[in-house]
């Protein structure tokens, strides 16, 4: 197995990292780049906690090879806020108490970003379907769905 230096664009920053082909994207983010906001949980693509966006699309970083996404644009939870200003989705999750232990939250928020980018005006049912691949083990989904519905409204009005 060959080692190589690969370039990754994460949160609009470029990183050159020595990798081997068997490294997953979640390992790259957490262990090489110290971006530990992305969570590793089930490791089999069942829970969505490791969701990040690659070229704007939601992917499971535990089931994605890092080598396969070199030179693509990767967005993680750390890249959402603008300096100290939280992204409206992050703010809505806080305002609605849409988290308890917080472990699923980065994945939920990244999936919400993908959902609203594709469908800025979702119905409650569409939100439920949109986060169908993200498991929350403690809070439950009502407050999360409330937060997503609220932020869709805010963002539609151009609120930040």
């Amino acid at each position: 197995m060959k080692k190589e230096i690969a370039t990754f664009n994460v949160n609009s920053r470029s990183y050159d990292v020595i990798i081997t082909p068997n490294m997953t994207l979640s390992e790259l983010l957490r262990e090489k780049l110290d971006l530990t906001g992305t969570k590793y949980a089930c490791g089999v693509g069942e829970c969505g906690a490791c969701t990040v966006l690659v070229d704007g699309k939601p992917v499971l970083s535990c089931s994605t090879l890092a080598i396969a996404v070199r030179n693509k644009n990767i967005l993680t939870i750390e890249g959402l806020a603008n300096g100290t200003n939280l992204h409206p989705i992050q703010q809505a999750f806080i305002d609605h108490g849409a988290m308890q232990c917080g472990f699923c939250t980065p994945g939920m928020i990244m999936m919400t970003k993908a959902l609203l980018d594709e469908n800025p005006n979702p119905t409650r049912e569409e939100v439920k379907e949109g986060i169908g691949g993200n498991l929350c083990r403690c809070t439950g989904y009502v407050k999360i769905i409330d937060a997503v519905m609220a932020v869709a409204e805010t963002m539609k009005k151009g609120g930040k």
Partner: protein, 288 residues
């Protein structure tokens, strides 16, 4: 956290190059499309791959088009198929089978061809594609060939693919006039795979069955066509009586196992119920 065992990695940019790699590395190689099944199974150690061939950068595999019949490539993602208007209109059961997959991420990553090639009897998407009479286009070192999906599965997780072959695309025939289709499955929760999956395509003219395709998933080592039940329907006037008889026959064609999801007896009985409901629904849709 379990890491993946080491492997050599390739990124071909053409089918020709991919087939060449397959013919060199043979059965020690795995193809990577979406990775949603492959990577977790490699992590568990259920699949050992000395060589990994990533086919994501082969442009000729990434297409969905509608001409004479409907075709899509091996890298067409489930999400692209789900949102394709032509599929929603002409192949509603394919849309339904994809739409009910709960994980949106899986649909953005995963491909229908990946679903087919895993060879699991519990694939809803593959069960539906077989009912739609899908034909696979296969590239290999000795040239290209086609194979109807109904003949593709050999045994549990085993397909007719040779070590130097890969599925490059899927063609669906145009829906015939008077054809109605239905897809039904029984699941504990939609995030889980099905206990039993059934798809049916029924072509009816003046209430007489011209053609019937019934496919059953998760009730035998492979997805299969219930050919005895199909033969029973063909040429007959379609009513509840014959539908019930066909459903019973189809249940008799299953070879289910007992596992944590269901007992074999339950799977057999549920197949009977689902086939009966699927045929009723297909008939209703055939009548428009």
């Amino acid at each position: 956290m379990r890491v993946l065992k080491p492997f050599d990695y390739f990124e071909p940019t053409s089918v020709k190059e991919a087939v060449k790699l397959l013919s060199t590395h043979g059965d020690k190689a795995q193809l990577l499309a979406g990775g949603v099944d492959l990577i977790p199974r490699m992590r568990k150690g259920a699949i050992k791959a000395a060589f990994l061939i990533n086919i994501q950068n082969i442009p000729e595999l990434d297409y969905i088009n509608n001409g004479k019949g409907f075709k899509f490539g091996a890298m067409a993602r489930l999400h692209s198929l789900e949102t394709a208007k032509e599929i929603q209109k002409s192949y509603p059961i394919l849309y339904e089978a994809i739409h009910q997959i709960t994980s949106v991420q899986t649909k953005y990553m995963g491909t229908a061809v990946g679903n087919i090639c895993v060879g699991t009897p519990a694939s809803d998407v593959a069960t539906v594609l077989m009912a739609l009479d899908a034909e696979l286009t296969i590239a290999g070192a000795k040239g290209d060939r086609t194979e109807p999906m109904a003949k593709f599965y050999v045994d549990y997780l085993k397909t007719s693919l040779k070590p130097d072959e890969m599925v490059t695309g899927v063609s669906l025939p145009n829906p015939t006039a008077g054809m109605g289709t239905a897809f039904l499955n029984l699941v504990r929760t939609h995030a889980d795979i099905a206990k039993v999956t059934v798809a049916a395509a029924l072509t009816v003219e003046n209430n007489v069955c011209k053609e019937a395709r019934i496919t059953i998933g998760a009730a035998a080592p492979t997805i299969f066509r219930a050919s005895k039940a199909e033969a029973l329907l063909k040429g007959q006037k379609v009513d509840s009586q014959i539908i019930n008889k066909a459903a019973e026959t189809a249940a008799g064609e299953t070879r289910p196992i007992t596992d944590l999801r269901s007992t074999a007896e339950y799977r057999k009985e549920v197949t009977r119920v689902l086939v009966s409901r699927a045929l009723e629904k297909a008939l209703e849709r055939a009548k428009g």
